[in-house]
Amino acid sequence: MSELFNDPATWLPVVFAGLMGVSILVYVVLDGFDLGIGMLTPLVSVEDRDRMIASIGPFWDANETWLVLAIGLLLVAFPAAHGTILTALYIPVAIMLVGLILRGVAFEFRVKAPAHNKHLWDWAFFIGSLVTALSQGFMLGLYIMGLEWTAMTVAFALLTALCTAAGYTFIGACWLIIKAEDALQTKAVRWALRSLWGLLAGFVMISAATPFVSERIFQKWFSVPEIILLAPLPITAFLVTCILLWALRQLPDPTDRFRHVPFAGGTLLFTLAFLGLAYSFYPYVVPEQLTIYEAASAPESLMIILVGTAVVLPMIAAYTMLAYVVFRGKARDLRYD
């Protein structure tokens, strides 16, 4: 064990894989909720739409920065993998970027452009959110399929795209349950219940498919004692789902005391799914091709990033929480004040 810690070349890649994983997870939950809200905007009246967008206005930029961090860590810590993954995903990445551009600028243009153009930017906002979610899901599916482009893998990726969009819609609806009042909150509960099924379908599909993509992953899950040690993962997921279904049927409750439960449960579900995936793919960063050790940057470079990260990440966490505290409570209309 001590040997492991003496040689940074052995533990640094693991630490960075962990950091990258955490940023992806945080991104999926945080930008997931604001993309989800974006996908729900066509379903409501103009006033409710303003309120929904107000509920994410102060947060979306910081949320999106987690994507920049995740991709940055891939870039700086695993340069060799970064090129392979991103060139394999060239087209979906480009489509996602177009989506991110559209919805990011629509936030500002919809309130600043002449009023008669507002509905156009509202469409850009919806389409941008939808396209982003779909392309991210597509990339997830293709990654699971080992970055191969065949009819089978593309079909699978299209399904994960739909499920990811449903998952983001779910977490977005959960966020809205916290932020909205009255009729809008009631609607949010209904949306959460419906989209939860899409999310669950995605989990089941991925769990079923992953072990059959590679013999190695199959062995990791279905041999003794692993299968017993890993049992808590699916069991917890099942329990959380039951609690979610129960809680969503109680909401909206008159005291609004349980409004945080769906979002917390949803976050937990995402985390569990993520842990499962991470377990399957470790130690590969490009599935079945390149391990994190082969792809890692030089230790002296990783070290200097790690020092910075250790100092700055807690600060980022602190002021991010500050922002959530400042903007706690129900969403009012966005006001530039």
Binding site: G57, L67, V76, A77, A80, L100, I304
Partner: protein
């Protein structure tokens, strides 16, 4: 059919050109907003707050465009230039990581408080948030310019099996061209903002703005420009001298000089012919280039013919692009000097009670002149580095991705369409906001948040 290399270069150039438009404005506008806020805190003069309210909208819109185009940038290295990170990732990686960690999160989080938090936090927290956003954008510029400067003048590294390894981080960050490039870029940002402020304010005045707030911001813009432009010209001169030392081929291309020697003229006009390796239609100031670069008439100026390989392939950058973009930048700078000094003089003498409409129109026309000069400057710098991607370490063609050309072409066309559309939307919305403000449709004055008691903090 164009190949992947040239398409990827065009795509990268298009993406970063689009990106830089917006940070160029946000970097300095953040500080100007802080200035407005502090003036208001100190004087209680509502006009400063009016200026703040108007330009914070410009800031928010610009920032959103900067963020989304920046995200595109962070994927570009992987999708189009994997060889870049594979070969110099050990140096570029930490610099990019520090930019994300120390700058991006800071600005993104505090931007929320700056834009939406005025009625939720005490006034001093709001002022602090404004400061942190301005500070964050400047840090962002620092790190990315450090990386870019390192690509021009690499230092503090060693090559092991074709991969760069860091040996001295201080030397890497503070590489020889960083101070010049950083100062010149920050000043460029200040000038761009000065002209945006003056231009939009002049537009408001022409449109019949009855408030005196527009006059105040107009004056701020004009004086800011008048102060910064001589500094910028001086900084540019030093920058050029530094480049002469480290990248003589770039200077030879900027001057359009083929043979090394003394008494080299400063060319005002010429059409460099790279086939014949000579200039056509030369008009120049005798000894000018020698005087500027060496400070005496016989001073030796490097010539392009020194940078040709044995077999005749040129090892210098394409001459026309560098030669002309340099002249566009300097020309714009001189136009800025003339307009801002004449106007500042007029305001000094006669005040702004009866502004000459032609003076205002000139500023409206120059609203985005900073963009022109900045892009021209970057084209000089970046094309002047070719054929190298990292001077002496990595050539551009060695880094390009192995993706099919049609794929690059299709994404390039989509990006271009979006960029043209968004740039037009951006410019027209700015003028629309100015018209609205001129008609007096500004939001109501705002009240600080529940923590109002803390506003008692004496004038910051």
């Amino acid at each position: 059919m164009m190949d992947t290399l040239i398409l990827s270069r065009i795509q990268f150039g298009a993406n970063i050109s689009f990106h830089i438009l917006f940070p160029t404005i946000t970097i300095a506008l953040g500080w100007v907003l802080l200035f407005f806020k502090l003036r208001f805190n100190a004087t209680g003069d509502e006009r400063w707050m009016d200026g703040y309210r108007f330009f914070v909208k410009v800031f928010a819109l610009t920032f959103a465009l900067g963020v989304v185009s920046g995200i595109t940038m962070s994927f570009q290295f992987g999708t189009n230039w994997p060889g870049f990170m594979e070969s110099v990732g050990n140096i570029a990686g930490p610099l990019l990581a520090y930019e994300i960690l120390t700058a991006f999160f800071l600005e993104a989080v505090f931007l929320g408080i700056m834009l939406f938090g005025f009625s939720r936090v005490p006034n001093w927290v709001h002022t602090l948030a404004t400061f942190l956003v301005a500070f964050g954008t400047t840090m962002s510029a620092f790190w990315i310019i450090a990386l870019n400067s390192w690509m021009h003048t690499p230092a503090g590294y060693e090559m092991i099996d074709g991969v760069a390894h860091a040996t001295d981080w201080f030397a890497i960050v503070f590489n020889p061209s960083l101070p010049y490039r950083l100062v010149h870029m920050l000043l460029a940002s200040g000038l761009t903002v000065a002209f945006v402020i003056a231009g939009l304010s002049a537009f408001r005045m022409l449109y019949g703005d009855k408030t005196s707030a527009a006059k105040l911001t107009f004056k701020t813009g004009v004086f800011l420009a008048a102060i910064l432009i001589p500094l910028q010209i001086a900084a540019g001169d030093f920058h050029g001298l530094n480049t002469l030392e480290h990248q003589p081929a770039k200077i030879a291309a900027m001057e359009g000089n083929w043979e090394t020697g003394g008494n080299i003229p400063l060319l005002l006009f010429a059409i460099p012919d790279e086939e014949a390796r000579e200039n056509r239609f030369e008009i120049g100031i005798p000894n000018g280039a020698s005087l500027i670069l060496k400070h005496h008439a016989e001073g030796e100026v490097p010539g392009l013919n020194d940078f040709v390989a044995e077999d005749g392939t040129p090892m210098h950058p394409p001459v026309n692009a560098v030669f002309w973009s340099f002249r566009i930048m300097v020309g714009t700078g001189l136009a800025m000097l003339a307009l801002s000094w004449v106007t500042a003089g007029v305001i000094w003498r006669r005040g702004l009670d009866k502004p000459n409409p032609w003076m205002l129109r000139a500023f409206v026309a120059m609203t985005f002149s900073g963009w022109l000069a900045t892009l021209a400057g970057w084209y000089t710098t970046e094309i002047g580095r070719q054929p190298w991607l990292v001077t002496g370490v990595l050539r551009t063609y060695e880094a390009v991705a192995d993706v099919p050309a049609p794929m690059v072409l299709s994404t390039l066309l989509v990006y271009l369409a979006i960029y043209v559309g968004l740039t037009l939307a951006y410019v027209s919305v700015l003028f629309y906001l100015a018209r609205k403000a001129a008609r007096g449709e500004q939001p109501k004055p705002m009240t600080p948040g529940s923590g109002a008691a803390v506003t008692m903090i004496p004038a910051e």
